[in-house]
Amino acid sequence: MNWMDIGAIDDIPLRGARIIRTALGCVALFRTDLNEVFATSDRCPHKGGPLSEGIVHGKSVTCPLHSWVFSLETGQAQGADVGQIATYAVQVSQGRILLDARDLTKRSAA
């Protein structure tokens, strides 16, 4: 594990999201109603919608373009849609968001 301090949890709105740029594309950081933080790929596998702009409900997010719903825990598309987004290990410690950056800081060519 390579825990990297990304910022304060309060930088993400409650039931909202922010993005970070990485070598593998944008990663979305979600903050749920219960102050859990999840990290997933920001890109919807359907048409590439920015998931960080979706509405966060429970432990799910709904894509703003065509309303696909993804579990933030598993990255699985919910309901009738079939798809998967990458999820990343993340934890909150003393109000700071720590992301496992091993995969994300690798050069994409690696």
Binding site: D11, P13, R15, R18, I20, R21, H57, P64
Partner: protein
């Protein structure tokens, strides 16, 4: 041998007593009737309709000159009795002495005038008789006059309502915490106050009058708390007390009133008393029912028959300016008493039953008093209510040995029973429509209009369908908002208002949401309902908004955004156009397009560039065009009288004024307006949510047009002569839509549900309601009419729109 009966006082009680006596025993007495007023007997209860102009004095006369002549009653109206000489059995008046064998005192009551400075000024009056009423009518003839009514009891409120109907500005000052505190509990008093306020009557509770001010005539009333109300007339209606001066001087036994026994005889066996001047068993009487009971006893006693006055409980069922009130029995709170309360504040219905020892002892009802007499019967009879306690508050329709079956109740309704109050549709008409082939609620709505206005009778209409069609009718299940709840949009809107839910957690918790915090379907709807109903209390939640409204720009398929500055009424100028061109250059905008709503669209902007670009546009005076919002989008105009040779009015100017008034307001769905300067309709007003067409004589306001998925011509809302009125009805319409429509229903869909007449009644016909709608809209605008671009063109916002971190930089190290 005929005896002499002298009656002092020509009021309702003595009038009834004389009538009963003479009808039964026409020759027993010769009656002489003294009355202080220069006229005969009239129905004093009906003075309020005389004041309001709904009736005339002639309508309320109970005994006219002809009646007195036929019954041989000697009338001495306008002649005041000054003394009773019991020893010589005569009464003394200006006309001399009149001997009596029996005397009936019916001097009634005198209004209580509170002892404050200025109470003798001309213009300060009580509200007791026709002269008072006529004085009030005379003062109210002055346009724009102000009236202060001191006393928020029944009489004061009737005076206030009458003066309001006569066109005065009316303030009611009431010393207690709520109106009609003797008949109503605080909750019902509050509903009544709300109703009166919505009718334009100002109510000031807990107000103690300090002084009445004026030089030579009344000019104002000032209260202990420092408030001062201007007044051309002051009506004191703080209470009455028995008029007992004659009886006191004659040394009859007096308590608070003239003491009588069960036969209505005073301490002098030849003298009887009746009415408001009487005290019986330490009790005084003011309402008409017990006075009539007393009159019966008086007539029998005078005829030498046995009778005894037994005061019974009295129910008050009154109509104050159309407010339905009922109260009966005792409804003070106590440890041994229990309450059953039913509230539906959005319908303005409140019912409270007070129970002690399994018996109903009191009932207060407001808004729906249909079952009042049934409850009153239970109180009077002391019926044990334990077996029906569960459904007691729902009234007699739900009582009986079997489980309540609403279908049976509907089946039992006669054909002339009214089902839809808004449109006046009775059961028979609906049954006829069903016989003619109607099979669904929509059929009934289309063919009879029943249930097409406010919708509260929808359940009843469905039950009529079910009863009439039997198994052929499948009750449609109401469609819930989403899987988070079983409630419909309409349910949730109603409950947010009625239960005063002012936050999303309150909605989820109170209404039993099945998910922890909703879903993308219900969250934006609930967020809108809350901010529309509670503009001051609720804080808008950006995370419950679709991305476009959160980022104040329209997301495009590649995740970039489009930016549309507002151009008021479609007007722009070279400076704005240069700023737009500069922004397009600076932020590498790939596409610049003119929209259908007379705006310029800059497409393909990156999210992180939005705040800076907005700041640049702001500097040129441009603000957000809200091209992304469920709110006012655009007001499209033609050039009108400015340039066009056909223009009849300043359509551009009106469009700009409308847009400046309405921008920033959130609505259930987007709202687009247009103003055309003549019927050629170059601004395409006839397919807008609100479309105005200017004509020589004014402005034709149409609503409910559409040119999207559905194509629909506007329906005519009204035609108004002035620009100001065109703006007023538009604002009121938008607010009515904001308050009532389902989220994501455009106005035309909402109109199809409630019906144009329902909207017209509130926005066009009822000026008070129109003003109230506008006031609520303007209140909301104090919170929401803010340029989101200006609010976000700062360092904090720019940071929030940028990535939280950039790991590509670390990777490159």
């Amino acid at each position: 041998m005929t005896q002499n009966l002298v009656v002092i006082g020509a009021g309702m009680a003595s009038g009834r007593a004389i009538e009963l006596l003479l009808n039964q025993h026409p020759h027993l007495y010769h009656v002489t009737l003294f009355g202080a007023e220069p006229r005969g007997n009239y129905n004093r209860i009906m003075l309020s309709p005389v004041l309001s102009g709904e009736k005339t004095y002639d309508d309320i006369v109970t005994h006219d000159a002809a009646w007195y002549a036929v019954h041989n009653v000697t009338c001495r109206f306008g002649e005041t009795v000054t003394k009773i000489d019991r020893d010589r059995k005569v009464v003394i008046s200006a006309g001399g002495e009149t001997p009596y064998d029996k005397l009936l005192i019916a001097t009634g009551s005198a209004p209580f005038m509170i002892p404050v400075a200025g109470r003798d000024l001309p213009g300060v009056m009580a509200y007791r008789d026709l002269d008072d009423t006529n004085k009030m009518i005379a003062v109210s003839a002055k346009p724009g006059g102000s009236a202060v009514v001191i006393g928020g009891g029944l009489l004061g409120l009737e005076a206030a309502a009458g003066l309001k109907l006569r066109g005065m500005n009316v303030t009611v000052i009431h010393i207690m915490g709520h109106l009609m505190e003797r008949q109503l509990d605080p909750a019902a008093g509050y509903l009544l106050q709300r109703e009166l306020t919505s009718r334009g009557i100002h109510v000031h509770c807990k107000g103690a009058t300090k002084a009445i001010l004026g030089h030579g005539k009344v000019e104002a009333v000032t209260l202990e708390d420092g408030t001062t109300y201007p007044a051309d007339i002051v009506v004191m209606a703080v209470g009455i007390r028995p008029e007992i001066r004659l009886a006191t001087d004659a040394h009859l036994e007096i308590g608070r009133g003239i003491v009588v026994n069960d036969q209505m005889v005073t301490s002098d066996p030849n003298i009887l008393a009746v009415g408001e001047c009487v005290e019986h068993n330490k009790q005084l009487f003011g309402l008409v029912a017990p006075l009539y009971d007393q009159a019966k006893v008086v007539a029998k006693t005078l005829a030498g028959e046995n009778a005894a006055f037994q005061p019974v409980q009295t129910a008050t069922k009154l109509k104050v300016t159309g407010c339905d009130l009922f109260s009966a029995g005792d409804f003070a709170e106590s440890d041994t008493r229990e309450d059953i309360v039913f509230r539906d504040p959005s319908r303005g219905v409140y019912k409270r039953l007070v129970i002690e020892n399994d018996k109903l002892i009191g009932a207060v009802m407001y808004g729906d008093t249909a079952d009042g007499n049934w409850f009153f019967g239970l109180i009077k009879d002391g019926t044990g209510i334990a077996p029906m306690r569960d459904t007691l508050i729902f009234g007699p329709a739900f009582q009986g040995g079997t489980q309540p079956d609403p279908l049976a109740a509907v089946a039992a309704l006669p054909p002339e029973a009214e089902i839809c109050g808004c449109n006046g549709i009775c059961k028979g008409k609906i049954v006829t429509a069903i016989a003619g082939g109607a099979r669904t609620l929509d059929d009934i709505r289309a063919q009879t209009k029943a249930s097409s206005s406010c919708g509260t009778c929808t359940g009843l209409v469905e039950q009529v369908l079910a009863v009439t069609l039997g198994a052929d009718f499948v009750l449609p299940t109401a469609k819930p908002i989403c899987k988070c709840t079983d409630l419909t949009h309409e349910d949730v809107r109603r409950l947010i208002k009625s239960q005063e839910l002012k936050s999303q957690p309150a909605v989820w918790q109170t209404l039993g949401w099945k998910t922890p915090n909703g879903c993308p379907t219900c969250r934006p709807a609930v967020n809108f309902y809350l901010l529309a109903d509670w503009p001051l209390e609720y804080v808008d939640d950006a995370q419950s908004r679709f991305v476009n409204e959160r980022n104040h720009a329209n997301i495009q398929k590649d995740g970039t955004y489009s930016v549309v500055p507002r151009m008021w009424g479609g007007l722009t100028n070279p400076r704005e156009l240069r700023a737009i061109a500069d922004a397009a250059d600076k932020y590498n905008v790939p596409t610049v397009k003119v929209t259908g709503g007379q705006r310029i669209d800059l497409l393909g902007v990156r999210k992180e560039d939005l705040p800076a670009m907005w700041a640049d546009l702001n500097r040129a005076g441009l603000v957000s065009g809200h091209a992304y919002s469920k709110g006012l989008r655009t007001v499209k105009t033609c050039v009108g009288t400015d340039h066009c040779r056909f223009g009849t009015q300043d359509s551009t100017g009106l469009g700009v004024k409308l847009e400046r008034r309405l921008w920033g307001a959130w609505t259930p769905h987007k709202v687009k307006l247009a103003v055309s300067g003549c019927p050629r309709n170059c601004a395409e007003s006839t397919c807008k949510d609100v479309g105005i067409i200017c004509v020589d004589s004014g402005f034709e306001v149409g609503v409910g047009g559409a040119a999207g998925m559905d194509l629909k011509h506007t329906e005519p809302l009204c035609k108004v002569p002035t620009e100001a009125e065109a703006i007023a009805v538009t604002v009121a319409f938008v607010q009515l839509y904001r308050e009532n429509a389902k989220y994501l229903d455009r106005p035309y869909k909402w109109l199809a549900k409630v019906g144009l007449p329902w909207v017209q009644a509130r926005v066009v016909a009822d000026l008070t309601e129109r003003a109230a709608l506008i006031a609520r809209f303007d209140l909301s605008q104090t919170i929401y009419q803010k340029d989101p671009w200006a609010e976000r063109s700062n360092a904090t916002a720019m940071q929030a729109f940028a990535p939280m971190a950039d790991l590509t930089l670390e990777a490159a190290e």
